[in-house]
């Protein structure tokens, strides 16, 4: 009984050893990337599978859904994306404008200034919900995924384009507009 299991153990060990040595010498060449639709896709088992990342990259589709990008000129600062975000990685601060600022490329009227439009990619979980709710389709996912940094704050992407003076000016504009309206009411 014990002899039988021992012999069986040795036989299986030899089998395993032959398998590993096959892979050991098969590692001389890299495994080619193959189309999964080929019939013999699973036949080819030899070769190194490692992709040495920074030096060589796997091809990814152009429409891949990785990091977010915002076309701020098309943004109407509706805050829907920030509300849809499950992890609250989008921070938007809006300033109201007394009159329409302009139009986006799809014809929506812009009435708000984006004083702040930050996306914290460190928090983002790439669910893509913000891109779904966006009425003007200005927030999109790109094929950009490789953004390694040594500072975590580098991953907070600032899409707002307004300078501090501009923000101050627009705020003052709105407060004076409000004040004018109040004054008009009192009359």
């Amino acid at each position: 009984m014990i002899l039988k299991t021992t012999i069986h153990g040795f036989a299986t060990a030899v089998k395993g050893l032959l398998l590993t040595v096959k892979h050991l010498f098969g590692a001389k060449k890299s495994r080619e990337s193959r189309d999964i639709r080929q019939a013999d896709y699973f036949e080819k088992q030899e070769g190194v599978t490692t992709v040495q990342f920074p030096h060589e990259k796997m091809p990814i589709p152009e429409v891949a859904r990785y990091q977010l990008d915002v076309e701020i000129d098309d943004c109407i600062v509706c805050d829907l994306c920030a509300k849809a975000c499950p992890v609250d990685c989008i921070t938007i601060e809006a300033i109201k404008s007394p009159e329409a600022i302009g139009k986006t490329s799809d014809g929506s009227v812009k009435r708000l200034y984006a004083a702040q439009f930050d996306i914290d990619m460190a928090k983002c979980m790439y669910c893509g919900l913000c891109t779904v709710v966006c009425p003007t389709e200005c927030i999109t996912m790109t094929n950009q995924y490789d953004r390694s940094t040594t500072k975590l704050t580098d991953l907070i992407y600032d899409f707002g384009e307004m300078t501090d003076e501009e923000i101050m000016k627009r705020k003052e504009e709105w407060t004076s507009f409000q004040a004018d309206k109040e004054a008009a009411k009192k009359k």
């Binding site: 590692a27 190194v48 040495q52």
Partner: protein, 357 residues
């Protein structure tokens, strides 16, 4: 004066060799692991990652020596030294080439068995001194394993010694090649004293020594706590086993001794069973291959080459087989290897009396 210098120089050279071998072996180990698993292994530090292990050892040397509060200070600090020294002393009696041996003693084989078993003591000290349940479990497993496997190792060596009739490792190596003073018979029939080569190796002088060598190899694999017998370290169960609490240079020494032990047992097996520094090439008529490839440099080369191949096999096995369970380990030792070793022992006696006379 020059004699003292030699006495100092030899251990220093051997230590340097062990350190270099460890660096090389760790690199080889990681590469083999990578290739077996269809990966590349270290690639970034230096060309093909060649400097990876140098970077590792530099890191280990710079690290702070941490003494956990509840450790048994004395045991904790001495343990790595004992573990390393036990293995290091073993190198003193193993021949590298004809008469090229640190200490030519008549009881070399006995000596090596004696000092290498001190290793177990060091491991127990490390595990107990760490005052950590994982370390203690690891060291208890190690003791159970090493004490058990000492027996098949001893029996297989006795079986070989019955054929060689000497415990002097230098003589054992001598008697397996063309420099032998006694007559050598291939499989007990054909006189190959002048032919030498692979035919004169101990495993072919008495063919049952092939089985004995397999037992020796498997048992020494367990002695060095290598996979598939690595339950004392068992990183998936016991973190690091007996060396869990060690860091920096102390850990480096434990690591060093593990690899030194690998090479030592590989070399011991080569000397006793596989012809030691003798060439595998036989004299064929006018082609005096064995004569041409015997000598000091050739001896060192053959010892190296054979031992490195055995070390390679140890690594190959490590990355193939999964770890034994503790009871399977004991079963294999007590119910399989020891009985077979005893049978081989009897076969050795009969072979010596009936065939080799």
């Amino acid at each position: 004066m020059s004699e003292i210098l030699i006495h100092i120089l030899v251990p220093v050279v051997i230590f340097g060799f062990i350190a270099l071998f460890t660096l090389f072996a760790v690199y080889a180990e990681r590469k083999i692991a990578g290739f077996v698993q269809d990966r590349l292994g270290p690639m970034e530090t230096g060309k093909y990652g060649l400097l990876q292990t140098f970077a590792d050892i530099l890191k280990l040397l710079q690290k702070e020596l941490i003494n956990p509060k509840a450790t048994d200070k004395a045991l904790f600090i001495i343990a790595p030294i004992i573990i390393f020294v036990a293995v290091f002393i073993g190198y003193s009696v193993v021949p590298w080439a004809p008469d090229f041996i640190p200490a030519n003693t008549n009881t070399g084989l006995f000596f090596i068995m004696a000092v290498v078993s001190i290793d177990a003591l060091g491991i127990l000290m490390a595990g107990w001194g760490s005052n950590n349940k994982y370390s203690l479990l690891g060291s208890i497993r190690a003791i159970a394993q090493m004490v058990s496997y000492e027996i098949p190792v001893g029996l297989s060596l006795i079986a070989a010694v019955m054929i060689t009739q000497t415990l002097n490792l230098n003589e054992i190596a001598y008697n397996q090649g063309i420099l032998s003073s006694e007559s050598i018979k291939f499989l007990g029939i054909w006189d190959v004293t002048d032919v030498g080569g692979i035919l004169a190796w101990n495993i072919f002088q008495a063919p049952h020594l092939i089985v004995v060598y397999i037992i020796f190899f498997v048992a020494t694999l367990a002695e060095c706590n290598r996979a598939p017998f690595d339950i004392p370290e068992a990183e998936s169960e016991l973190i690091g086993g007996f060396h869990t609490e060690y860091g920096g240079i102390r850990f480096a020494f434990i690591f060093l001794s593990e690899y030194a032990m690998m090479f030592l047992v590989a070399m011991l097996g080569v000397v006793i069973f596989l012809g030691g520094w003798n060439t595998p090439l036989p004299n064929i008529g006018g082609l005096k291959l064995a004569d041409w490839t015997t000598g000091l440099v050739w001896g060192i080369f053959w010892t190296f080459a054979k031992s490195l191949i055995i070390v390679g096999v140890q690594m190959w096995i490590r990355w193939t087989l999964p770890r034994f369970r503790a009871d399977q380990l004991m079963n294999l030792c007590w119910k399989v290897m020891i009985p077979i070793a005893f049978v081989c022992l009897a076969a050795s006696g009969l072979w010596r009396i009936l065939v080799m006379n």
